[in-house]
């Protein structure tokens, strides 16, 4: 696979060679892609919607929230298979977590599905550990000076997910109404949940 051909051509060549020797099969590749996209769109499998459902339950079920924060891997495995450890970082009015992987793109994919492009970008990976508030501003978010910002770098195999603060004015809301307020960014730390 020479490098002057396009990524499309290189992928085709690679798939062809692998298929020729029976290592992969065209249909399996198709199926894998469709499964991943279906899970993402439907919200059953790994997707922001699954994450939102879990956050909403944590907001309304203190016992579940305690287990979630104490042992994310075990608690999350009730919803989705855990191939690597996952920790849930609880935000409070005084502490705001932001997740990054400066070395590559580690992300809580088992829960949230594939990461957004910006999460994998050199801009985010290089700047958030050094100037988190400047990065937050680019996401249109500002925190009070009294809020402690904790930037979590996914340097081991463990992935991280943020449990955002429940928005005010949502007393008595049902979980699925609450889930609608939970944005993907709020589970990474680059945004707050929507306000009612």
């Amino acid at each position: 696979m020479s490098h002057d051909s396009t990524p499309h051509e290189r992928t085709e060549a690679l798939e062809h060679h692998l298929e020729e020797h029976g290592h992969v099969h065209h249909d399996d590749v198709d199926a894998a892609i469709v499964a991943r996209e279906m899970a993402f769109e439907s919200g059953d499998g790994p997707s922001p919607a699954l994450g939102a459902k879990i956050v909403a339950r944590a907001w309304t079920d203190p016992e579940f929230k305690a287990r979630l924060v104490d042992d994310g891997t075990a608690t999350l495995s009730e919803y989705t298979p855990m191939t690597v450890p996952v920790a849930v970082m609880e935000n409070t009015p005084d502490v705001h977590h932001m997740i990054v992987c400066t070395l590559c793109s580690c992300y809580p994919g088992a829960v949230l599905g594939d990461p957004p492009a910006w999460y994998k970008s050199f801009e985010y990976r290089s700047r958030v550990v050094r100037e988190p508030r400047a990065v937050l501003a680019e996401f249109g978010m500002a925190l009070g000076d009294d809020v402690e910002v904790r930037v979590v770098d996914s340097t081991s195999e463990q992935r991280f997910m943020v449990l955002p603060v429940r928005p005010e004015g949502t007393e008595g809301w049902a979980p699925d109404e609450l889930a609608a307020l939970v944005t993907r960014n709020s589970m990474i730390g680059t945004g707050a949940p929507l306000r009612p």
């Binding site: 696979m1 490098h3 990524p7 499309h8 290189r10 992928t11 085709e12 690679l14 798939e15 060679h17 692998l18 020797h21 029976g22 290592h23 992969v24 399996d28 590749v29 894998a32 892609i33 991943r36 996209e37 993402f40 450890p85 920790a87 977590h97 400066t102 070395l103 590559c104 793109s105 599905g113 594939d114 957004p116 492009a117 910006w118 994998k120 970008s121 050199f122 801009e123 985010y124 990976r125 290089s126 700047r127 550990v129 050094r130 100037e131 988190p132 508030r133 680019e138 996401f139 402690e148 910002v149 904790r150 930037v151 979590v152 770098d153 996914s154 340097t155 081991s156 195999e157 463990q158």
Partner: protein
């Protein structure tokens, strides 16, 4: 390996490229390259996959789109696993379980002052340069997992080791304007006591 992939704290990169409702894959080949790469990863470890990407020529790495890095590594791994020459020889059953129990109890405890070591190696390391030799505090025992340097070098998980969540003052790392805290996961062998 202290390569250009180790981006934490680097200057020179611009605004965050935020895309509204972006697709999972921006072009069809991305999905296919990702699926093929995941298949190839099953014959080795994710650590070796990452280490392979780290060998991308620096200019190529920094000019690449995300899945171009996966594609580059997939080509390397397919070659390395001899999958481009002929049918696969049956590889022995894997028994390198990353969830197994570590051999030793944890050496460090929550609240302990520790220091991040400086594991310079051409091999794979998960200790970013910006954290090296800094003092921190163990926040808690994070998890247990095989050490990445071995997993990358051998393509198999070694015996799991303890991993600790360590907090660093960002001011010590990035200067007085940095008022936040950094939380990093560090394997036991990459930490030393600093009480």
């Amino acid at each position: 390996m202290d390569g250009v992939h180790d981006l934490g704290g680097m200057h020179g990169f611009g605004g965050i490229p935020i895309e509204e409702d972006e697709p999972l894959y921006h072009e069809p080949w991305e999905g296919r390259a990702a699926a093929i790469t995941r298949h190839l990863m099953s014959n080795t470890t994710v650590d070796r996959f990452r280490w392979t990407i780290e060998h991308m020529p620096p200019a190529e790495y920094l000019a690449s789109r995300y899945y171009e890095r996966w594609l580059w590594a997939a080509e390397q791994m397919a070659t390395e696993q001899g999958l481009l020459d002929g049918p696969r020889e049956p590889s022995p059953e894997r028994n390198d379980d990353p969830w197994a129990e570590p051999a030793e109890p944890p050496r460090f405890a929550a609240g302990q002052r520790v220091r991040v070591r400086n594991p310079v190696t051409p091999g794979h390391t998960r200790v970013p340069r910006y954290t090296r030799r800094h003092f921190g505090t163990v926040v808690r025992h994070s998890c247990t997992w095989p050490h990445p340097t071995e997993s990358a070098a051998t393509g198999r998980h070694g015996r799991p080791e303890h991993v600790y969540a360590v907090s660093l003052d960002a001011a010590a790392v990035f200067g007085p304007d940095a008022t936040h805290t950094l939380l990093i996961d560090i394997w036991e062998r990459d930490l030393e006591d600093a009480t």
